[in-house]
Point group: C2
Chain length 481, copies 2
């Protein structure tokens, strides 16, 4: 009923193209307000600016309006309205993305989904829970505290879980627990025209299925270009009985990576294994007062029963010693571990502190682990030759690492060198059978590299899928493809 | 060049519709032979019959011709030829499917890919290997023997790994190592018109990526309806240092399932945990001479270091005792374990032995594990009321179980009761938030249930994707959708 009423209204508003940025149709904001209510729609410049960028360096591209839907029915009505009037739609979670995913490059309406923040259907026996897009990873883990379960995917930022699903996020725990791909069981999606899709059928929360095409995996990592993720059913994991963390310094990048490969081959179920180059280790140490040497460094975390941890610790120490790693100091108490991981998670700010007043940009290539020493050595040489500051930190167990470029965006020459460097780094990863993006997504900045990575047929296939699901190209247009 | 030559030939053959079974165009077999060579094409009735069915009860539907491509270029040329002439194409691996996936219900050409059987690019440091469609799971694990790595997905049959990818197979090890979805890193696909698609770009073998839509997951489980899987890059795992297996009898289904949930909650990394109802346990015991009681039974297998296994064994025993499980006899030697698992894997034949001369049909619903006791109890009551023989066995850690119906297909009344029972069982799983197929796929038999499971929007979305990738509906038509 409501949909029909709005479609009538929309017809009065008139049709418009979707290829370029244009003003909203007349009375369109009133139409949005009729659905969402006056306090939930804004066209204030400050609000639009705030919603027109994420944490990346991409220029702010404010939407024409911001709307805060209160429930999924409103998302459906609002999408149907935009669809009917050819108005671009951009989903917004916490704005903590790193590739310009929320920038409204063709204008239109930003759907800020943060007010839909219910957690439901916690089923402890089934290890599942459902979250709306306003629920962040920390909020979920607080909610789960008494259940004995947790959600392990941790990209650093306290991002929205549906946003993490949309970008295919991963982070430090992925080596053991997998990325979002492995931990999203199903999604409730509002399609561009307002229809509601349950990727595995309504209300399902089984662990595995062979029923038709895997729609869940198609929407995970689609970066808001196929529809709105309005609820995710997630896979939970038992909280480990015991956790220990440690740091070890190595004589070289290769020694640290070889140690990692040996740890994985020995089937030590390492929960986190993070690499820092000597510049990053030194920066983190000074920023967080840890007193680490300026050397290739591994941060590790092991999860298990108290009994099994003793063996994991022994195996890991033996392998580290074999590769010249320094003695471990194992941190068992929560405070000690927090201090260690706070230092690792402050890597971004530690890097920025190397050049006060400058900005940061983080790359995220991923290569087969066997190629990691080569790409790190070549990248460090390139940094030196380019005269750039770029400490390295990464999820070495997955072959994924970040170069945090710290530069002065007011300096056009340095900015150009950063751009050229990141393009070379992306191509270097491709040449080593890797990917230009292990976890941040394509967004605005990696579209050219995506074509090189997946080839003409890959891109054509993705375009066919996009056209089939979003024939008017209204969902987050200008991203990914 | 070759493609262009063939398209010329195909144009001469003339166009035809694809909606119904029709004879091949004139001279079409000669055109196939021109590409694949005379010994690699057959229209012999016996060969066509052999390729027109799998291990299921679906009536044989022979293709009009069978071709054995020798390499991917031939698959491309042959597909382009069929596409140009509107001839249906059916991929064929080992024919061990269970839902009629290879039955050529609209005729056309069966592509038997078994002669493309190269294993390549084993990268021990990266835990990856690439296999062509003729490589079976046992052949791969033989090849890997000296490497310290193995491929764990084990559906029972010695299926082709690309076939397992096509059907999204899983099996007994999935509770620990995941299904094919988690273990296929990327695919090389021949699209219906002959174009070559690398789902993650050519030559890639990274562990994770956020580069565009997840095409790999789209093709895994697509049951040959979107293209030919001509190479799969797989994720390998370290061979565990030690393995132990055991059997325990429980006072009830609920006790066995509750024990399983507790084992998972305790984060015991159980590698296999299989449930048999009292009928199945008794049948297996008699068939394989194990001397088990006729009771709800769990078969378990634990993988780990020698040291960590001791703890896993202790935890598992304690939890089993808590739920009334009988004392465990842990089998550590390979021969003992083989004997135990041979008995489990002979469940199909043990079931058939209950009624000599009859045939079997296996269901494969999957529900949230918390619903498993309810569905098992209701299903056993239904079996009794329907007067059917159907022992139960399943992957209890995933909530997935099989009812092996043993019946006389010459008896129309019993056949009808089997059909009605399996439909009720599928709907019972849906009503408990489960899926009609946990691992066998939709194929021919579950299309109606798929619609009920994913709803109109789910089916419409799948159909849009199918139409985008196979606009002429020539790839394995009549399956899934």
């Amino acid at each position: 009923m409501a949909l029909r009423r709005l479609l009538g209204l929309a017809a009065a508003v008139g049709r418009r193209g979707c290829c370029a940025k244009r003003p909203l149709p007349p009375d369109f904001v009133e139409a949005l307000t009729a659905v969402a209510g006056a306090p939930n729609v804004s066209t204030a410049a400050a609000v639009r600016e705030q919603h027109g960028r994420d944490e990346s360096m991409h220029s702010c591209a404010p939407p024409d309006a911001v709307v805060w839907p209160q429930d999924v029915a409103q998302v459906q009505e609002l999408a149907a309205l935009c669809y009917r009037c050819d108005v671009p739609m951009v989903p917004f979670g916490t704005g903590t993305g790193l590739e310009g995913g929320v920038n409204a490059v063709q204008g239109g309406v930003c759907f800020d989904l943060s007010r839909m923040d219910r957690i439901s259907e916690l089923r402890v026996e089934d290890f599942t829970v459902a979250v709306e897009p306003g629920v962040t990873r920390k909020a979920l883990n607080s909610y789960l505290r008494a259940s004995g379960l947790w959600f392990p995917v941790d990209p650093g930022a306290d991002a929205s879980l549906c946003g993490m699903a949309a970008t295919g996020a991963s982070g430090t725990n992925a080596v053991r627990y997998g990325t979002m791909k492995a931990n999203v069981l199903n999604l409730r999606v509002v399609l561009p025209d307002g229809r509601l899709l349950h990727t595995a059928g309504p209300g399902r929360h089984f662990r595995k299925s062979a029923a038709g095409y895997d729609l869940t995996s198609l929407f995970v990592g689609s970066e808001g270009t196929l529809g709105f993720l309005t609820r995710a059913t997630l896979r939970l994991h038992p909280v480990p009985e015991a956790v220990v963390a440690a740091v070890s310094a190595f004589p070289s990048v290769r020694a640290a990576v070889d140690c990692t490969v040996n740890v994985l081959q020995a089937a030590v179920p390492v929960a986190r294994i993070e690499f820092l180059d000597e510049v990053m280790a030194d920066a983190c140490s000074r920023y967080s007062g840890l007193g680490l040497p300026a050397a290739a460094t591994l941060f590790l975390e092991l999860h298990g029963s108290r009994h099994s941890l003793a063996e994991q610790v022994r195996q890991t120490e033996e392998l580290a010693q074999l590769h010249g790693g320094s003695g471990f100091a194992w941190a068992q108490e929560p405070e000690e571990r927090s201090r260690l991981w706070a230092a690792r998670h402050a890597a971004w700010y530690a890097a920025l502190a190397l050049r006060p007043g400058c900005k940061g940009y983080s790359t995220d290539v991923c290569v087969p682990i066997s190629r990691l020493p080569d790409i790190v050595v070549e990248t460090k040489r390139d940094l030196e030759e380019s005269g750039l500051t770029g400490p390295l930190v990464g999820h070495v167990g997955d072959g994924n690492f970040h170069c945090i470029l710290v530069f002065d965006p007011e300096d056009p020459d340095e900015t150009r060198r950063v751009k050229d460097f990141t393009d070379r780094l992306g191509r270097r990863a491709l040449a080593m059978d890797g990917t230009c993006t292990g976890e941040h997504g394509v967004g605005l900045g990696k579209r050219a590299l995506l074509r090189e990575e997946v080839g003409d047929e890959g891109l054509a296939t993705m375009r066919h899928i996009k056209a089939a699901l979003d024939p008017k190209n209204l969902m987050n247009p200008g991203k990914v493809l």
